[in-house]
Amino acid sequence: MTETAADKRIPVVDYLVLGDDPHLVANTCRSCGALYFDRRNACARCGELEFERKTLEKTGVVRSFTIIHRAAPNVPVPYVSSVVELDGGGVVKANLVDAGADPEKIELGMRVKLTTFPCGRDEEGTEAVAFGFAPA
């Protein structure tokens, strides 16, 4: 068995890049800088056609959150969903981790940083890795 543990990890979505320095990437409009986590044919903001890949900052602030108590049967509750505004641009939705689930203790505007966590393993042993944000 020459396969290393790292070979058997896969990001849960393709805009998360794993490795030594996990980070998010986006497609950015070369004309106006609008950011998209999926592909676009023309920029939704300015209509231009050229995009390039951009590495996003790993820090930001919590712009909004909700604490989910009712979910599909095998989604553990409660969990905190948050909308995070990244330093340097980009707004992303992810779980807020390591912050508890008490609304009195989660502050709107609090600073957070990107973190990763395993979110499943398939029958071949590959581990899926997700990202979230933790208090900075």
């Binding site: 979505v13 592909r39 712009r63 909700t66 989910i68 599909a72 939705k93 779980n95 709107l108």
Partner: protein, 401 residues
């Protein structure tokens, strides 16, 4: 926009659960009710639009015709998320404005049954076999609950909390007061799915679904239908005196979609398109928010209603918390909002909602709303928003007589 369009007939079923009926039954009841109210029949109609989300691809308009009258007129089967009903009304209206018809019928209907708060997304996931990235985001599994939430209770909770993050004096209690009000209002509406008042403590103490929305701050699923008969200016002059006296003018009809905002990458924006629609509607109607005697707005969740106070300019910028604290949107307040009970208690059969709120406003303008009548109502506004997003705003005015 050459001439006015009028509502000359309207009806709705009581919202609730009708396991022994189907969508055609419900749509027929509302359609025949609205036609009867206008003293007209299907044979008089020049155009038909039927809004229904869950049967959007099932030719419901034509099935309704087979049930109540097949005359060969053009039919639009309409689907536009929670703005489906409003879009059906507007489709009928545009045909009249374009001169293609002088009378038209718009029907909204939905049969959701007990779909559950989360709909199909509430089902358990299957076990993974081999992870393979797929779809637009190269995801290897459904990410609900892993990368935040995309389900309605949470999305609208986050929309409300985003407003709270920018404005002092907005929190759990202000959001809960919205639901307290709408449940109280519904007690006066015999057509509401629920007619039970709850104290603020009961609202805040109910099971938490998606903070800050408790179960009593979320609209139920349900069944129901509503319909309006629309009429051109010229045609109205030929109708009977009672029909003319009860006619309600459609002073504005606006449909918007969400323009680009940076936060689209996280979740759909429900505010910008509502602000755009409201501004256009006030301009078209030549009225301002201070002129409104009542408003039916899209309170799918209590958090949504609160932010729409500002989006519809019913309060000062940043003042939505203060507006509810001062009881401004209560039926005896500055601008009564959702005196029907709103989606939260009247119910939200999706396709029916955008027509039912026109029924509600028109009924008050006619002075026929019974126990829940807003005295001497002359101008009202109806708003719906479908996530994704689509926003419909209509302004109605009582006939000058």
């Amino acid at each position: 926009m050459s001439e006015n369009v009028w509502i000359v007939g309207t009806a709705m079923t009581k919202f609730g659960r009708y396991p022994d009926k189907d969508t055609v039954d419900l749509a027929s009841e509302a359609a025949l009710g609205a036609l009867g109210d206008a003293d007209l029949t299907m044979q008089d109609m020049g155009v038909l639009a039927v809004g229904c989300l869950l049967e959007a691809n099932a030719m419901l308009g034509q099935r309704l015709q087979k049930q109540i009258g097949q005359t060969g007129i053009p039919v639009f089967n309409v689907s536009n998320a929670c703005a489906t009903g409003a879009t059906a009304v507007r489709s009928t209206m545009l045909a009249i404005k374009a001169g293609e018809a002088d009378l038209g019928l718009a029907v909204g209907v939905e049969q959701m049954g007990k779909a559950g708060l989360l709909g199909p997304a509430g089902q358990a996931r299957s076990k993974p076999t081999g992870y393979t990235p797929s779809g637009r985001y190269g995801s290897v599994m459904p990410v609900e609950g892993i990368l935040g939430t995309g389900l309605m209770p949470g999305v609208f909770a986050q929309a409300g909390m985003e407003y709270a993050s920018r404005h002092d004096g907005v929190g759990f209690e202000q959001f809960a007061k919205v639901a307290e009000k709408n449940h109280a209002h519904s007690a006066l509406n015999p057509l509401a799915q629920y007619q039970k008042a709850f104290s603020l403590e009961e609202v805040m103490g109910a099971d938490m679904v998606a903070y800050p929305n408790t179960l009593l701050m979320c609209c139920p699923t349900g069944d129901g239908a509503a319909a309006v008969v629309l009429c051109s200016d010229a045609k109205l002059k030929t109708l009977g005196p009672d029909v003319r006296r009860r006619a309600v003018k459609v002073s504005a009809s606006v449909l918007t979609s969400d323009p680009y905002v940076e936060s689209d990458s996280a979740q759909p924006d429900v505010s910008t398109l509502t602000k755009l629609a409201a501004a256009q509607a006030y301009e078209q109607a030549g009225v301002g928010p201070e002129d409104l005697d009542l408003v039916e707005l899209h309170d799918c969740f209590a958090t949504a209603e609160l932010i729409h106070y500002e989006n519809l300019s019913l309060c000062e910028p940043g003042g939505a918390g203060d507006f509810i604290d001062r009881r401004g949107p209560w039926r005896d307040g500055k601008t009564p909002v959702n005196v029907s009970g709103g989606l939260i208690s009247k119910g939200h059969p999706i396709g029916a909602t955008g027509v039912a709120n026109l029924y509600e406003v028109a009924t008050h303008l006619r002075g026929e709303a019974g126990d829940r009548q807003i005295d001497n109502a002359k101008v009202g506004l109806a708003h719906v928003i479908g996530l994704g997003s689509a926003c419909g705003v209509h302004v109605l005015e009582r006939a000058a007589s």
